[in-house]
């Protein structure tokens, strides 16, 4: 799964607010600076370089496996387009990146040259990405196991996708070894909390996270190819082939959703589609704006990079989601930038020496402002969208 699975980490909490401490949870949604990861991270080697305690490690996901089995039982569900799944299976079996992830000595040399804050931020990048890929591995692996009987083809695709994720996670973890760190993935598996998502939400969320992951990686790759002086660590050279995996994973979720038209063709689906787009885009934007050092370190303008990724992901997503956001409307970016300002103020409150109660009181108006920005963005007129295999506008389309 793309590194950006982390981006949707807090979504499960957003619609429910079932936690006893909603404001704290909401804050973690906004700021992505939950400290929850500290107790679960256990670098094998002493982390003298100091992993930031506020680092957010992406959440692990679980779902309703019984419902998944029902959804993909071809005897119950006659809509299943088995041809698409067979085609995808052939693609995944081809295993384009079988021999792609081979390291060389450039890695260690480059890591040794990275110093100061940039080194710190690279470690964070590797950790977050590794955990995200690994969380994809766990979810897909389990789905591959659980669907074996009801739909062997879909099950095998999940297993092959977990192969990709494991490969990506392993490669990133080896990257961490260049910095004398390692994530103990076995420990993570047991120790981390799992977030539950209904299958339908798994589809929306993982689709977006795979596609946005593709656009992030390919953008970084193509930018660095053009500007090699910013090629500070060789992992980016692998992104071109790597992100094709992410893109294909997204295609698979596309096929899964097409096989479940009830997730795509009514007004509720449109509302959810917009909600997930908003959550993923906003979280990425706020998240990245807190880490401008990373993007600037590789020669990118963080906001321009993010807007490019959002616009492209949105265009891609419009091939399947029944509605998407009008992200090319300048009002959208204006609202995002306003959210960044509010979020910065929110973070500043957390950094003061006030007692918890005072901090929370100070947060209330800021959170209200943020919620109102989010709502206003959500309610902006959407763009009708969808796959031409389903969409109502298909007959008018000229190809």
């Amino acid at each position: 799964m793309a590194a950006e699975l982390s981006l949707i980490k807090p979504i499960s909490k957003f619609p429910k607010f079932s936690s006893p401490r909603p404001s704290a949870n909401f804050r973690s949604y906004i700021s992505m600076s939950s400290a929850a990861s500290t107790e679960t991270k256990r670098p094998k080697k002493l982390a003298k370089t100091g992993i930031k305690e506020t680092l957010l490690t992406p959440r692990f996901y679980t779902t309703d496996f019984d419902e998944m089995e029902m959804l993909f039982n071809s005897e119950i569900n006659k809509n299943l387009n088995q041809a698409e799944f067979e085609a995808l299976l052939q693609e995944f079996k081809t295993d384009y990146n079988q021999t792609h992830f081979v390291r060389n000595k450039e890695f260690k040399e480059a890591a040794d040259k990275l110093n100061g804050p940039l080194r710190q931020i690279f470690v964070e990048f590797l950790e977050r990405s590794c955990t995200a890929e690994f969380s994809g591995f766990l979810l897909y692996k389990e789905l591959g196991r659980r669907l074996k009987k009801t739909n062997p083809v879909v099950a095998e695709i999940f297993s092959l996708m977990s192969r990709d994720e494991a490969r990506h996670a392993g490669f990133l973890n080896k990257g961490l070894s260049d910095f004398n760190l390692a994530l103990d993935l076995g420990f993570l598996t047991k120790a981390r909390k799992y977030t539950f998502f209904k299958p339908k939400f798994i589809f929306y969320a993982t689709y977006l996270s795979e596609k946005i992951g593709y656009w992030r990686y390919i953008t970084i790759y193509r930018h660095l190819k053009e500007n090699p002086e910013f090629q500070v660590y060789p992992i980016f050279k692998y992104f071109e082939n790597w992100c094709q995996d992410e893109n294909r994973h997204g295609d698979f979720f596309s096929a899964l959703m097409k096989a479940q038209p009830q997730f795509l063709n009514d007004w509720k689906a449109k509302l959810w589609a917009r909600f997930f787009c908003l959550s993923v885009y906003v979280t990425m934007y706020l998240n990245d704006c807190q880490r401008t050092a990373f993007y600037e370190g590789i020669g990118l303008d963080t906001k321009e990079f993010d807007m490019h990724v959002i616009i492209e992901t949105n265009r891609t997503t419009a091939r399947i989601f029944p509605a998407v956001l009008d992200v090319e409307n300048p009002e959208f970016k204006r609202r995002l930038d306003r959210m960044v300002e509010i979020n910065t103020e929110l973070l500043a409150v957390g950094d003061t020496d006030d007692i918890a109660l005072v901090k929370n009181l100070k947060r209330i108006p800021l959170i209200a402002a943020l919620v109102s920005e989010l709502l206003a963005t959500y309610l902006m007129p959407p763009v009708e969208a969808g796959s031409v295999d389903i969409a109502e506008f298909e007959p008018q389309l000229v190809y």
Binding site: T219, H223, V398
Partner: protein, 219 residues
């Protein structure tokens, strides 16, 4: 859909120069299937076939053959009509706007080279076979570009990926016939605003995938 995968040797004869050096796949290549197909439409479909063809020669059966057995060019195999699958859309969409499409094409080419597989996919600008599909052409902006392959499931995948394309299939007796095109010059307007932090892929990237007879050959 069953995999009428990577085709018999017949296609070698008409393959672009690109493939010539890989005409003899190694034993390491996965098993391939040769499909003889029903010839119900093929006779009327194609006008300029130089070899004579009898529909009765086409046998509806699938035979699994190890790829190293495909090394000999048996002329009788060249005469069997083969099924070609395609997706088609306007040239701007296929070659200019959908940049991930370029990446998929080169990824597949790399994969075929790494595994010594014979190329079974091509890009065809203004393909002649479109004349047989009035339902498609009336919805198509021109010039059009088709991605053609003998690998049906792969085209199904590409339809899933590209979405805004039309998919169909036809039979042809030879690869030259299947990939015949009307010479057309492509011109794409520069995008009004290009905000990506990288340049577009270069005009002409697709030439590596054109059949050799299409006029624009790779140096």
């Amino acid at each position: 859909m069953v995999a009428p995968a990577a085709l018999s040797l017949g296609s070698c004869a008409g393959l672009p120069a690109l493939q010539a050096e890989r005409a003899f796949p190694s034993a390491a290549t996965p098993r391939k299937f040769i499909y003889g197909t029903c010839a119900s439409r093929s006779k009327t479909l194609f006008l300029s076939e130089k070899r004579s063809f009898s529909p009765t020669a086409a046998v509806t059966k699938a035979v699994a053959v190890d790829s190293d057995q495909l090394g000999s060019s048996d002329p009788s195999e060249q005469e069997k009509p083969k099924k070609y699958y395609f997706v088609v859309a306007n040239a701007k969409f296929m070659l200019d706007e959908e940049e991930h499409f370029q990446e998929l094409m080169f990824e597949r080419l790399r994969n075929f080279e790494e595994r010594n597989k014979e190329q079974d996919f091509w890009l065809v600008i203004e393909p002649k076979f479109l004349d047989k599909f009035p339902d498609i052409t009336k919805r198509l902006k021109r010039p059009a570009v088709a991605l053609v392959s003998t690998n049906g499931p792969w085209i199904t995948f590409m339809k899933l990926r590209l979405d805004r394309v039309l998919a169909e299939s036809f039979e042809a007796e030879s690869v030259e016939e299947a990939l015949a095109s009307n010479p057309t010059e492509l011109k794409f307007e520069k995008p009004e605003k290009w905000v990506a932090p990288y340049p577009k892929y270069e005009y002409g990237w697709w030439e590596a995938f054109l059949p050799s007879g299409a006029g624009k050959e790779q140096a």
